[in-house]
Amino acid sequence: MNFEFSEEQVMIKDSVARFVRDEYDFDTRRKIIDSEEGINRDFWTMFAELGWLSVPFEEQYGGFGGSVEDLVAVMEELGKGIVVEPYVSTVVIFGGLLSAATNEELKSTYIPKIIDGSCLGSFAFLEPQSRFEIADIATSATVGKDGYAINGTKTVVFNGASADSLIVAARTSGGQFDRDGISLFMVAADAPGVSINSYKTMDGQSASTINFNDVLVTESQLLGTAGQGMEIVDQVMPNILLALSAEALGIMATLNAITVDYTKTRQQFGTPISSFQALQHRMVDTFMACEQTKSLLYRGLCDANKAAVDPSVGTAELLKSVHALKATVAKYGKLIGEEAIQIHGGIGITDELNIGHYVKRLMTINVTFGDADFHQKKFNQLSYSNF
C-alpha cells in the first residue's frame, strides 16, 4: 500500500511548484488575464521546454509516457497558482482525446506539436441546448462528395480564441440524444466556414461560441470510427475528471492555507482572530473537506491504475469513484470558497485580493463536465439501479 508520489512525480511537481512560486505571482497573473490574448505564450514555450506538455503522451510520439497519476501531480500544482495557460484544454482534453483516438496519422501529426508547444487545441462539444449530456448533439456532419460538411453551433469552447485546432463533436447519424452516431473531427480553427466569437470567463480564462457553416472535412480528419466518437470521449473522461479535480484540490488547499494564515495575523479585539472558536470550527470543517477530497482523488487514481491493468473489472469502480470525486469537489469546493471569503470579511470580496480569483476558478471547474447534482445522479444510477 502506498499513497506517495514517485520520485519522478515529485520532481515534476516541484518544478511546477517552483514556477508558480517564483514566476507566477498574483500580479503577473493579473497582467496576463488583462492582456489581449489572455495567456502568456512565453510561459507556454517554457512549459514545453520543461517537458510539462509531454507528460501524458506515449513515448512513440515524443511523450514522457506518463500515467494519469503524473498528470494529476502537475494539475494540483497548476491549481495552486490558478495558472490560466490552457493546459487543461490543450494537454488534458484535446491531447487526451487524441491519445485515445485510432487515427495514427492525426496522432503522429498533432501530438508532437502539442508537446513542442506549437499547437494549442480545444474540444468543441457543448451546444446551446445540451447542458451536461455530451451526447446531446445537433451539430451535423453530412456526407458529401469528398467527405463531410459540418453545420451547427458550439458554445463555451474553452480557450477557443487561442486554439489552432479544434476537435469537433458532430452527428453523422442518429437522433439528437443518441450516443451512437457522434463523430469526432479534427478541424483547423481557421478553416473556411469556421467563425469564432470569444469572450472572457469569470475565472480569468476565455471561451468562445463557434459557428460551423458548411465546414468541409475529409475522412482523414476523423479521430476514430465514424459514429463511435463517444467511445473515445468515455475513455478519456475519467482522466479529465481526475485532472480537473486535482486542479481543484490544489486550489482548495491554497484557499485553506491563505485563510488560516490570515486569521493568525488579523487582529480584532486586541487578539488574532484565529483564537476565536467560532472561526476555528469553520477552519476544521474546511480542513476536513480538503482531506476528504484528497482521499477521493487518491481513490480515483488507485481505481484508474486497476482499470488500466484490467478494464473489464476495474471500469465500473473507476466510474463510481470519479463521479463521487467530481460531486465532492463541487460540494466541498463551494464550502471552502465560501468560508475563505467569509472568514476574510470585507477584504474577501475585493478583486484586489487573490482568494476571490481562486473561488471563481473553482466555480468554473464545478460546472465543467458536470456539476455536483449531475455527477451524484450518475453515481446513483451506477450504484443503486439493478442493485
Binding site: M1, F3, F287, Q292, Y298, L301, A324, Y384, F387
Partner: protein, 351 residues
C-alpha cells in the same frame, strides 16, 4: 499509488476471516445483539474468552504482556475484518484503557495481579473519570482520596460510568492534594467495586437501555498498593491513556456493512409500488453518505499507510473520529427514516 497488501498480509487476512467465519456464528451474534443486560455480559465474556484462547484478545498490548506482536498492517487488517463481519469490539475499559496504564506505569505486583485477569475477561473494569462538575474540564474533579495509615479514604461521585453495574474494578482519578495547580494533585487509583462504601446507581437512557451509572464513594478504604505510580502524578498517566483512546476509530468497515444492509432493506421496502432504493430523493440521501464513506475509507488508508511506514498520525487522524461518527449517525438516521411508522414503534434495534 496502490492499496495492495503483500501476499503475507493477504494470507493473514484469510486466516482472520476464516476464524471469524467459523467461531462467530449466528448463535454468538444473536446472543450479543442486545448490547445490554446480564445476558449480554455473559455472551461477550464467552466471545472474549474465545479470542483469548486464540491469542487475539489484545492486539494493542506489547507481546511480553500477552499481546499478539502484530505489525501495524496486521492490526489494521484485523480491525477491518472484525468490522466487516459485524463483530463488536472487545469491552474496552479493561483491555484498551486501564491495561496500557498498568503495563506502562504500574508496579510489577500490579502487572502480575491485574493483567492476566483482564486478558481472560475474569475481571470487568469501568472508568471513573467524569464527575457532575468535571466533564470536558476533567481536571476540575473533586472526588478526594485522603491518605491515612496504609489506605486512602475516598469520598465523592463519578458519573456516566458505563457498565459499572457489571464491574469488579473501577480505575479512578482522585484528588490527593489541594492548593496546587489543578492538574497537579490528582492520583490514579484502582478500586475494588466490592469495597464497603462504594455503591452504584443506574442512569436509564432514552433508548430504554441501561449502560450508564453513577458511582458513589463514601469513606471507601483503598489500600495504598492500588495506587498507580506516584501520588499526585495521575494526570500524566491519564493523558497517556486518553491519547491511546483516540486512535483507530473511523469504523469504516462497520459503516460499510451497515450501509450495505441499508441498501438491501431499501430495495425490499416498497412505497406506492416503487422500491425505496429507486426513489431519487432517497438515492440522494444514500449517496451523500456513501460518497463520504468512500472518502473516509481512503483517509483511513492514508493514515494507516503513513503509520505503517513509521510516521506519526497527523491532524487527519482526528478527522477519522469526527467523520466516522457523523457517517455512522447518518446511517442510523436513514435506517430510522426507512422504517417509517415502524421507527416510532421500535425499542432498540431494527430487526
Amino acid at each position: 499509488m496502490d492499496i495492495n497488501f503483500s501476499a503475507q498480509d493477504l494470507e493473514f487476512r484469510d486466516d482472520v476471516r476464516a476464524f471469524f467465519a467459523s467461531e462467530y456464528d449466528a448463535k454468538v451474534a444473536e446472543s450479543l445483539s442486545s448490547g445490554q443486560g446480564e445476558d449480554y455480559k455473559e455472551a461477550i465474556v464467552v466471545w472474549q474468552k474465545k479470542l483469548h484462547a486464540k491469542g487475539w484478545i489484545a492486539p494493542g498490548w506489547p507481546k511480553e504482556y500477552g499481546g499478539t506482536g502484530w505489525s501495524v498492517t496486521q492490526k489494521f487488517i484485523y480491525e477491518t475484518e472484525r468490522g466487516a463481519a459485524g463483530i463488536p469490539d472487545v469491552v474496552p475499559f479493561g483491555l484498551k484503557m486501564v491495561a496500557p496504564v498498568i503495563y506502562t506505569f504500574g508496579s510489577e505486583e500490579q502487572k502480575a495481579k491485574f493483567l492476566p485477569r483482564i486478558l481472560s475477561s475474569e475481571d470487568w473494569w469501568c472508568q471513573g473519570y467524569s464527575e457532575p462538575g468535571a466533564g470536558s474540564d476533567l481536571a476540575a474533579l473533586s472526588t478526594t482520596a485522603e491518605y491515612a495509615g496504609d489506605n486512602y479514604i475516598v469520598n465523592g461521585r463519578k458519573i456516566w460510568t458505563t457498565f459499572a453495574q457489571f464491574s469488579d474494578w473501577i480505575f479512578c482519578l482522585v484528588r490527593t492534594s489541594k492548593d496546587v495547580r489543578k492538574q497537579q494533585g490528582i492520583s490514579f487509583l484502582l478500586i475494588d467495586m466490592n469495597t464497603p462504601g462504594v455503591s452504584v446507581k443506574p442512569i436509564p437512557t432514552i433508548d430504554g437501555k441501561h449502560s450508564l451509572n453513577e458511582v458513589l464513594f463514601e469513606d471507601a478504604l483503598v489500600p495504598r498498593e492500588n495506587l498507580i505510580g506516584e501520588q499526585d502524578k495521575g494526570w500524566t498517566y491519564a493523558k497517556a491513556l486518553l491519547a491511546h483512546e483516540r486512535t483507530g476509530m473511523a469504523e469504516v468497515a462497520d459503516s460499510k456493512r451497515m450501509l450495505s444492509n441499508l441498501k438491501q432493506r431499501a430495495a425490499a421496502e416498497v412505497n406506492g409500488g416503487q422500491p425505496m432504493l429507486d426513489d431519487p430523493v432517497f438515492q440522494m440521501r444514500l449517496s451523500d453518505i456513501e460518497m463520504q464513506l468512500m472518502a473516509l475509507e481512503y483517509t483511513e488508508l492514508r493514515v494507516f499507510a503513513s503509520m505503517a511506514a513509521g510516521g506519526m498520525p497527523g491532524p487527519e487522524s482526528s478527522l477519522l473520529k469526527i467523520k466516522g461518527t457523523e457517517i455512522s449517525q447518518s446511517i442510523h438516521e436513514l435506517q430510522l427514516q426507512l422504517a417509517a411508522y415502524y421507527g416510532g414503534a421500535l425499542q432498540g434495534d431494527l430487526s
